[in-house]
Subunit: 254 residues, 2 copies
């Protein structure tokens, strides 16, 4: 055998993977911008010189990864991966790893506090208006646990948005997706729970308006501690998320 290899390592990746990689590269490095069309399957067949089945498998990979989507007429186009779509995959992973509510709570506490700090510092008038609108809707449905829980989720999403930090927005999403669905159970099970939730949101919004970081953090912590106390009345923090959550949110989605 020669000391210097005559041949390079042959690329053994299956064709559909190469198709996916090739399209991904074009999107990542910006040659195809979000919203721009990728072309029809037929065109891709012609360009890559592979069978349509192979192209389609490659397309599925990218579609699942959120890099491309089909528009109203099912034509392919590049797109910006949606945070919450990716977050859904992560949530699923967390469930399968059987994480506990304690882990979820601890991490959410960290991220929500960071979120409110950012919001106090950098919330725009528009952010504040959105939060105010949410608060109004929350107050109107305070007696309806399901709708109130939905408002709660949105409030925290808006708060993260107000922080103007997209990395934070993304980082908090997977935990939030698993954490907040239980709010409905808690608000429904604890008398005055709804009122306390809306009150806390009110104080948080007020703190953001006044740019009072200390107050914002304080009320966010209280808000989450409230959740925790409520949760501990109906389940153990050390129980895996799987059992508690599956029976509610995931089952309902099916």
């Amino acid at each position: 055998m020669p000391s210097t290899p005559l041949f390079r390592r042959i690329d053994v990746a299956p064709a559909y993977q190469k198709v996916a990689d090739a399209i991904e590269r074009e999107i990542i490095n910006g040659r195809i911008k979000p919203g721009e069309p990728i072309g029809t399957e037929q065109q891709l067949v012609a360009q890559f010189g592979v069978n349509r089945s192979t192209v389609r498998e490659g397309i599925r990979v990218l579609e699942e990864g959120g890099l491309i989507r089909r528009d109203s007429s099912r034509r392919l186009q590049a797109c910006l991966p949606r945070y919450n779509k990716l977050a859904t995959r992560l949530s699923r992973a967390l469930i399968l790893h059987e994480v506990t509510f304690r882990e979820l709570f601890e991490t959410s506490m960290t991220l929500e506090v960071a979120s409110v700090e950012g919001a106090v510092e950098r919330a725009t008038e528009e952010n504040i208006a959105e939060l105010a609108g949410n608060l109004e809707r929350s107050a109107a449905v305070v007696g309806n646990p399901a709708e109130l829980a939905e408002c709660d989720v949105e409030f925290h999403v808006l708060m993260a948005k107000a922080s103007q930090n997209r990395v934070l927005q993304l980082a908090r999403e997977p935990a939030a997706q698993l954490f907040f669905p239980t709010t409905e159970m808690i608000v429904g099970g604890v008398p005055e729970g709804g009122a306390r939730l809306v009150e806390a949101h009110g104080h948080i919004l007020d703190a953001i308006r006044r740019r009072d970081k200390e107050a914002g953090v304080l009320w966010t912590r209280r808000h989450l501690q409230d959740w925790r106390r409520g949760f501990e009345k109906i389940a153990s923090l050390d129980r895996s998320v799987e059992h508690t959550y599956m029976e509610h949110a995931y089952a309902a989605r099916q």
Copy 2:
């Protein structure tokens, strides 16, 4: 039109999607455990009553989502989604959204501090031994920016692991993947940067050993502030990650 609709909404999801959903459900709710075989494509064809092409498209979706993989003999089996595989896709999303290093830095500061707090509270002897091993290796390669940067990444992964909080481990990963590759540039560009890095790691490990949360947080903050100062010497924090990162880590991967 009758007041109560006669017919239900027809399910229009394409067949490959239904195949993917059906398999996903079996895995999520635990009827198929990680490591267990899914069956051959032929069997799935028989069970679902669809064509093999359709089954294969469904399989690609799940494979990309990390729910199933092919073992050494390419047979299908369920698996636990790997954090860092999912994190890679999130990192990609962050790049496409053109987040800035400021956002990355701010979020990483939050998550690494939470990480060290958890580690101080709950690190096991094994965790500490791993961190100590890493520190030793770091000290040995202090003059080699590339290898030192790799050690730095590992140190922070181990710290998150030591926090015993899997949600936190997952949440920090996407930001870390984008954040730490720059370490090489910084350590290489700033004299004494490598020594300072190893020194900080040493203090952090020491704090974890002594269960001294304050010291742990203090040195973690210093460590990251060091990174920031180093970074600002070579680039702007408000520049999008895309440009700076692409030319280094991503290009190298190709």
